[in-house]
C-alpha cells in the first residue's frame, strides 16, 4: 500500500569518518590549510631526493655566496653559497619530524596516564594528576636546556624534551574526556555484559574520547614546530649545518640588514606551516564538535 518508503528508514550509509570529513570540507580555511600543509609535506619529501648534501648543506661552493633572489636561486644564496630555497624545503622535514614525533611522544605518554587517571579515579587519579601538575610547572625551555645539558644536542633529545614537557596538557585533556565518556550508558552496558575494565577502556572509552585529543594534538604540532625552531635558534636544537628553519634564522642574524631575504624565507616557512596546521586544527575541532548542528 505504501507508495513512499519512509525516508528516515533509508540512511545514506556514512561512517563517522565520512561524516567528519564532510563537515571538515565545509570550512574553507581548513581546506586551504590542508592543501598548504600537504604541499609543504610534498616539497619536503622531494627535497630529500633532489638536494645535494655537499653543496647545499655543507656549503662547498662559496663562490656563489650572498646572491640576491634570482631565476637561478629563487630565494637567493647564503654566506656559504647554499641555495636558500633548497635549504628551506629540505629543512621542512626537520620541523615536521620534530613537530609530529614530539607531539606523538606527548600524546602517547600523556593520554595514557590521563586516561587511566580519568577511568579509575580514586587514589590512582590523585597521584597521577599531582605528577602531571609538577611536570606542568617546569617551563619547556628549562626542561629542554636540562636535557641538552645532560644528554647533548641532538634531534632525538630535542624530541624527547619537547614531548615530555607537553605531555601534561594531554594528560589533563584525556582525563576530562575519559570522565565524560565514562558517564555514558554504553559503558555501563559493557559492564553489564561482563566486560572487564581494560577492554572497556580501550574498546569503548578511548575511541570515543579521542576527539578533543586529536584537536589538541593538531595544535600541539604547530607549537612543537615553533619550539623546535626556538631551540635551534638558541643553539640547543638541531645542530649546524643542518638547515632547520630556526637554525637558519640564527645563521641569518649577522646579515639581517644587508641580506634580509636570508631571514624572511625561513621565517615565512615557519609561519605558513604553523598557520596551515592551526587552520586544520580549527576545522577538525568544528567537525568533531557534536554540539554544532549539522
Amino acid at each position: 500500500m505504501s507508495k513512499k518508503t519512509n525516508a528516515a528508514a533509508q540512511p545514506g550509509r556514512k561512517t563517522q569518518g565520512q561524516l567528519i570529513w564532510h563537515q571538515f570540507k565545509k570550512n574553507k580555511g581548513a581546506v586551504i590549510g590542508l592543501i598548504a600543509f600537504l604541499a609543504i609535506v610534498g616539497l619536503a619529501i622531494i627535497a630529500l631526493f633532489i638536494v645535494d648534501y655537499d653543496t647545499q648543506i655543507a656549503g662547498m661552493l662559496i663562490k656563489d655566496k650572498l646572491q640576491k633572489p634570482s631565476a637561478a636561486h629563487i630565494f637567493g644564496t647564503d654566506h656559504l653559497g647554499r641555495d636558500v630555497f633548497l635549504r628551506v624545503i629540505y629543512g621542512a622535514h626537520y620541523s615536521l619530524l620534530i613537530g609530529f614525533l614530539g607531539t606523538g611522544v606527548s600524546v602517547l605518554f600523556g593520554t595514557l596516564i590521563g586516561a587511566v587517571a580519568g577511568y579509575f579515579g580514586g587514589k590512582l587519579e590523585w597521584f597521577i594528576m599531582r605528577l602531571v601538575d609538577v611536570l606542568m610547572t617546569i617551563p619547556t625551555m628549562l626542561m629542554a636546556t636540562c636535557v641538552v645539558a645532560a644528554f647533548g644536542i641532538s634531534i632525538t633529545n630535542l624530541i624527547l624534551a619537547i614531548g615530555i614537557s607537553t605531555a601534561p596538557h594531554f594528560a589533563r585533556t584525556a582525563r576530562a574526556s575519559v570522565m565524560t565518556v565514562r558517564g555514558n550508558e554504553y559503558v555501563e552496558a559493557a559492564k553489564a555484559i561482563g566486560t572487564n575494565d581494560f577492554v572497556i577502556m580501550f574498546k569503548h572509552v578511548m575511541p570515543n574520547a579521542l576527539s578533543p585529543i586529536i584537536v589538541q594534538a593538531t595544535n600541539r604540532v604547530a607549537t612543537c614546530i615553533i619550539a623546535a625552531a626556538s631551540f635551534s635558534f638558541l643553539g640547543l636544537g638541531v645542530p649546524s649545518p643542518l638547515p632547520e628553519w630556526g637554525a637558519m634564522l640564527s645563521d641569518a642574524k649577522p646579515f639581517m640588514r644587508t641580506q634580509p631575504y636570508l631571514m624572511i624565507f625561513p621565517g615565512l616557512a615557519i609561519m605558513i606551516t604553523v598557520l596551515a596546521l592551526n587552520l586544520i586544527g580549527d576545522g577538525l575541532r568544528d567537525a568533531l564538535d557534536p554540539k554544532l548542528k549539522r
Partner: protein, 319 residues
C-alpha cells in the same frame, strides 16, 4: 496450592554515597520479592533511589549492604568471576537511547558483543545468524545490520538496546525508564514489544519509571519509593484502587488523565522533595505530609503488611 516461584529476593538493600556535604542515603533498606515471569514496577520521583536500586541489584553499583538472592543464591557474596557468569542471567535496558549505544559500533557489533564476551557461540556464521534472529525478534529490519546508531531514531535505538540485553538469554531484566525518552506513539510500540517478549521468553522484569499510567499498564506489582525507602507496595490494581500511603495518594492524584470527564482532585503536597543527605531519624515524608503528627517526626516507620500482599510504611495508613 502451588507456591509461586520466587526468582529475586531483595532484603534490606542499602546504598550510601559519600559527598562533600555528607552521606547521601540513596537507597535505605529496601526489601521485596519478585515471582518468576512477573513484573515489579518501581515508581517514584527524583532522588527516590529507584534507578540506584535497579543498578545495585545488578551490582553495576556496589551496594553498601543487604542481600540480593537471585534464584536462591546471594549474589552480593559472589566473586568477580562468579558475578561475570551471573551477568548472563541478569541484564539491563537503559533509558537514554542516545547514550546507551557506542557511536562507533554498528548495530550488529553492539548486539554481537555480549555473545562474544560470554563465549556463547564460537562459530562465526552461527553468531551472525543469532544476531539476525535477535534483530527480527525485536523488530529491526535486516538491512540495518551495518547501520550506526546515529542513523537510527530513538525507537530503533531502543530496540537495539533490547536486542543486546536479550543476546545472552537472560532470565531477569531491569528496565530503567526504557520508554521515557521516546515519543508517545513509539513508546506504545516498545511497551508492546517488551510485553510480548516477557510472554514468549518467560522473562521477569523490574520496570523503573516515573510515569504512573505506564506502570499501571505494565506491572503486576508496584512499589512506590520516596527518598530511598519503599513507602508502599501492592499489586497494581490494588495500589491504584486503594492507595493508603499519603504520598501514594498524592502521587496518583497528580497524574493528569487524558479524560475530561473524570479528573481526580489533585492533592497538593507542601514544599519540595527534600535532600537525601544526612536524614534525621523520622518519617522522610513527614515534612510534606498533610497528616503528619508527633510520632511521624520521631521514628522512621517500618514496612508492614496491612492486607494480602499490600505493604505500607506509615504510622497512619489511610485505609
Amino acid at each position: 496450592m502451588k507456591m509461586a516461584e520466587i526468582i529475586l529476593e531483595v532484603e534490606n538493600l542499602v546504598k550510601y554515597f559519600k559527598s562533600p556535604r555528607g552521606t547521601v542515603h540513596a537507597v535505605d533498606g529496601v526489601s521485596f520479592t519478585i515471582e518468576k515471569g512477573k513484573t515489579l514496577g518501581i515508581v517514584g520521583e527524583s532522588g527516590c533511589g529507584k534507578s540506584t536500586t535497579g543498578r545495585s541489584i545488578l551490582r553495576l553499583i556496589e551496594p553498601t549492604s543487604g542481600t540480593v538472592r537471585f534464584e536462591g543464591k546471594d549474589i552480593l557474596q559472589y566473586s568477580a568471576s562468579q558475578m561475570r557468569r551471573m551477568r548472563k542471567d541478569m541484564q539491563i535496558i537503559f533509558q537514554d537511547p542516545y547514550s546507551s549505544l557506542n557511536p562507533r559500533m554498528t548495530v550488529s557489533q553492539i548486539i554481537m558483543e555480549p555473545i562474544i564476551r560470554n563465549k556463547l557461540i564460537r562459530d562465526k556464521k552461527k553468531r551472525e545468524e543469532r544476531v539476525l534472529e535477535l534483530m527480527k525478534t525485536v523488530g529491526l529490519a535486516e538491512r540495518l545490520y551495518n547501520a550506526y546508531p546515529h542513523e537510527l531514531d530513538g525507537g530503533r535505538r531502543q530496540r537495539v538496546g533490547i536486542a543486546r540485553a536479550l543476546a545472552v538469554e537472560p532470565k531477569f531484566i531491569v528496565c530503567d525508564e526504557p520508554v521515557s525518552a521516546l515519543d508517545v506513539s513509539i513508546q506504545a510500540q516498545i511497551l508492546n514489544l517488551l510485553k510480548e517478549l516477557q510472554e514468549k521468553l518467560g522473562l521477569t522484569y523490574i520496570f523503573i519509571t516515573h510515569n504512573l499510567s505506564v506502570v499501571y499498564y505494565f506491572a503486576d506489582d508496584i512499589a512506590v519509593m520516596y527518598l530511598g525507602k519503599l513507602v508502599e507496595k501492592a499489586p497494581a490494581q490494588e495500589l491504584f484502587a486503594h492507595p493508603v500511603h499519603p504520598y501514594t495518594q498524592a502521587l496518583l492524584s497528580a497524574i493528569p488523565e487524558p479524560d475530561i470527564d473524570t479528573q481526580r482532585e489533585m492533592i497538593m503536597l507542601k514544599g519540595e522533595i527534600t535532600s537525601p543527605i544526612n536524614l534525621p531519624d523520622a518519617c522522610r515524608f513527614a515534612k510534606r505530609c498533610n497528616y503528619c503528627c508527633e510520632d511521624c517526626m520521631k521514628k522512621d516507620p517500618e514496612l508492614q503488611e496491612i492486607s494480602l500482599n499490600h505493604f505500607v510504611s506509615c504510622f497512619h495508613p489511610l485505609v
